[in-house]
């Protein structure tokens, strides 16, 4: 930022495209970072995914073997399906909770909304690790508050930790809880952009709050909804720290998600080539999601 390079074009040209040096200086740092930490890893990742590289020493070209093995690897399939299941549960739950929170916070009928907004936002400030610890503390099988309350009410202890599906459910709830504040902010910005006159016209025509929400709010915030779904899908597909802290991908390895799988094959077992292949599968999924979103979004906007 402090580089005051002395580049003066003698007379100020009319066309903005005449300036090339100044903008290039300004983006130089990010271009270097982009090349170093984005292009380079992407390229060598793609190359290594066709080799049996272990991180040190020599490696051999193995062609498509890694990809071939990957699709025959039941552990990979389990990680993939578990990740997709987690995404399918997390995205709608977070969407619904955030939209509800945003609507209540902007509603002029609800009292104390500025304090409530802060309360909704605080979980987002906690790190995924702390969120995992917190929910582990709440949902501990022998000591957790939730099971304590359930037993007080006459129920039996629920195996939140030792049942794989319940364990996943706890993570889904924890992650939705954590991300609500942020998603809510996006929805609040979108809802505030809806022209008030729409609601006035609707209420003159006798539409109730629910009807107004369905017919005005939802269609008006559709672009934001798409962004939210896209971001949350990406976030869910790469989720790892919450799982580590909450149940360490357990019980056993039943809740090992893709990133954890990549981490364990790449760094614990040193199969960099194989892990790179798994990374590229994840990348292709994310790109497919992004492209589908873009197409749908464009179609909706052009309607």
């Amino acid at each position: 930022m402090t580089t005051h390079a002395s580049t003066v074009s003698a007379s100020p040209p009319r066309k903005r495209s005449k300036y090339t040096f100044a903008p290039l200086v300004l983006i130089a740092a990010n271009v270097v970072l982009f090349a170093l930490f984005f292009v380079w890893p992407a390229v060598i990742g793609l190359v290594y995914s066709f080799t049996n590289y272990t991180g040190v020493g020599v490696f051999q070209w193995v062609g498509l073997d890694n990809y071939h093995n990957l699709f025959g690897d039941s552990t990979f399939y389990d990680a993939l399906t578990r990740t997709l299941l987690y995404t399918v549960l997390f995205v709608p739950l977070n969407f619904a909770l955030s939209l509800l929170a945003a609507n209540l916070v902007v509603s002029k009928h609800a009292k104390g909304s500025s304090l409530a907004r802060v309360i909704f936002f605080i979980p987002w400030l906690l790190s995924p690790i702390v969120v995992g610890v917190l929910w582990r503390w709440m949902f501990g099988e022998n000591f957790g508050l939730v099971n304590y309350v359930i037993e007080k009410l006459g129920g039996g202890a629920v195996p939140w930790q030792s049942n794989a599906d319940l364990s996943l459910l706890v993570v889904v709830m924890a992650a939705s809880w954590m991300w609500t504040g942020f998603t809510m902010l996006l929805f609040i910005a979108a809802i505030k952009n809806v022209p008030v006159s729409y609601y006035e016209a609707a209420s003159l025509d006798g539409a109730g709050p629910w009807r107004q929400f369905i017919s005005i709010t939802l269609p008006s915030i559709a672009p934001t909804s798409f962004i939210v779904i896209l971001l949350n899908t990406i976030n869910a597909m790469k989720e790892y720290p919450v799982f580590v802290a909450l149940n360490n991908g357990g019980p056993g390895s039943s809740n090992n998600l893709l990133v954890q799988y990549i981490y364990e094959t790449g760094f614990k077992r040193g199969q960099i080539g194989y892990a790179s292949a798994a990374s590229f599968v994840l990348m292709l999924i994310l790109m497919a999601v992004a492209i589908i979103q873009l197409i749908v979004n464009r179609r909706v906007e052009n309607r």
Binding site: M1, T2, S6, R16, S17, Y19, F21, A22, P23, L24, L26, I27, A29, L33, L36, W40, P41, I44, G45, L104, S107, H109, A110, G112, A116, V118, F120, F121, L126, S127, P128, I129, L134, R136, W137, F143, F182, L185, L186, A190, K192, N193, V196, S197, E200, S203, T224, I234, K238, Y240, V244, A245, I262, Y263, G266, S279, L282, M283, L286, M287
Partner: protein, 300 residues
């Protein structure tokens, strides 16, 4: 994103009463609507606030009371022993300092670099910039977690393994930051730049003297976001660091959780301590986060 021709804030106050037929029925209707809306809001707020409250209050319980039934919300004999044990154990104070250093350096670099890039993307126009804009957009689709192994090799080949630079540098480029500044500078009128040019100011001087001071609110917003991302980052520092003296807070907490027998008293203390800086920063600078129009390319 949602670009509508009639923004709400302008006419919100003026036209509000129109939706209600008469002041008296409006008051009654207001209460009839206020009760369910407020109730629902506070039930939801309770669901979000209570786990944090329970967690923090538990941290004040002495280790012996943590599991004694009946569980109570408010600790009988509040104590700081858990916090003290956490702070003294396993270098936690060192982790805290390490994390603070990493966060501050990364945040300063991120804000500086994003400001430059955002300005260039907003106020200049040539094919290189357009191409770079697309490149930045691409980074949002491919989060770092996707390329863990190759990115690790790159940082190792650069000789940055087990150093703070290895955590800081890959985190400096963020699409969110660039887009936030770009969005902001697009709203600054071009005439301002033109006028400065006519007065003979050099391009980079225009940026440094006029534009940078203008963008102060965006700087703060991005600084808070960046600080939050780095403070809470887990997987990248875990990969990069193997010297326990350089560990960050999140690694420290995870190492307590990962132990065979979890020492909950220490764990709760450590977790609550780790929450303090961010919540303090947030409460002070709340309006910069809450008011921010963060919308595009969000990524950490």
């Amino acid at each position: 994103m949602t670009t509508t021709d009639m923004p709400r804030p302008l006419d919100a106050d003026a036209k509000q009463p129109v939706s209600k037929q008469s002041p008296r029925s409006a008051a009654r209707g207001g209460i009839r609507r206020a009760v369910p809306a407020t109730t629902l809001l506070w039930i939801l707020a309770f669901l979000y606030g209570f786990p944090v409250l329970w967690f923090i209050l538990s941290a004040f319980k002495p280790a012996s009371d943590l599991f004694s039934y009946p569980l109570t919300l408010v600790p009988h004999n509040p104590t700081l022993s858990g916090f003290r044990a956490a702070w003294d154990s396993a270098n936690f104070s060192q982790y805290f300092i390490n994390t603070a250093i990493v966060c501050v350096i990364t945040t300063i670099l991120t804000v500086g670099v994003s400001c430059c890039t955002g300005y260039a993307l907003a106020k200049y126009d040539n094919k290189w910039l357009k191409a770079f804009f697309l490149c930045i957009l691409a980074t949002t689709m491919l989060p770092g977690e996707v390329m863990l192994a190759p990115e690790f090799l790159v940082v190792r080949n650069l000789g940055l393994y087990n150093s703070f630079a290895g955590i800081v540098l890959p985190a400096v480029l963020t699409a969110t930051g660039c887009f936030m500044f770009r969005q902001f500078f697009l709203t600054v009128p071009d005439e301002l730049v033109e006028a400065a040019r006519i007065d003979g100011a050099r391009e980079l001087a225009i940026f440094a003297r006029i534009m940078v001071p203008l963008s102060r609110p965006i700087m703060l917003t991005l600084a808070i976001l960046s600080f939050q991302w780095r403070w809470n980052d887990y997987i990248w520092p875990l990969l990069m660091l193997n010297d326990p003296n350089k560990f960050t807070v999140q690694i420290g907490i995870q190492s307590i959780v990962g132990a065979q027998n979890i020492n909950w008293s220490v764990l709760l203390g450590a977790s609550v301590i780790s929450m303090i800086p961010l919540i303090a920063v947030f409460l002070v600078f709340q309006r910069y986060v809450m008011g921010a129009d963060i919308n595009a390319g969000l990524k950490d």
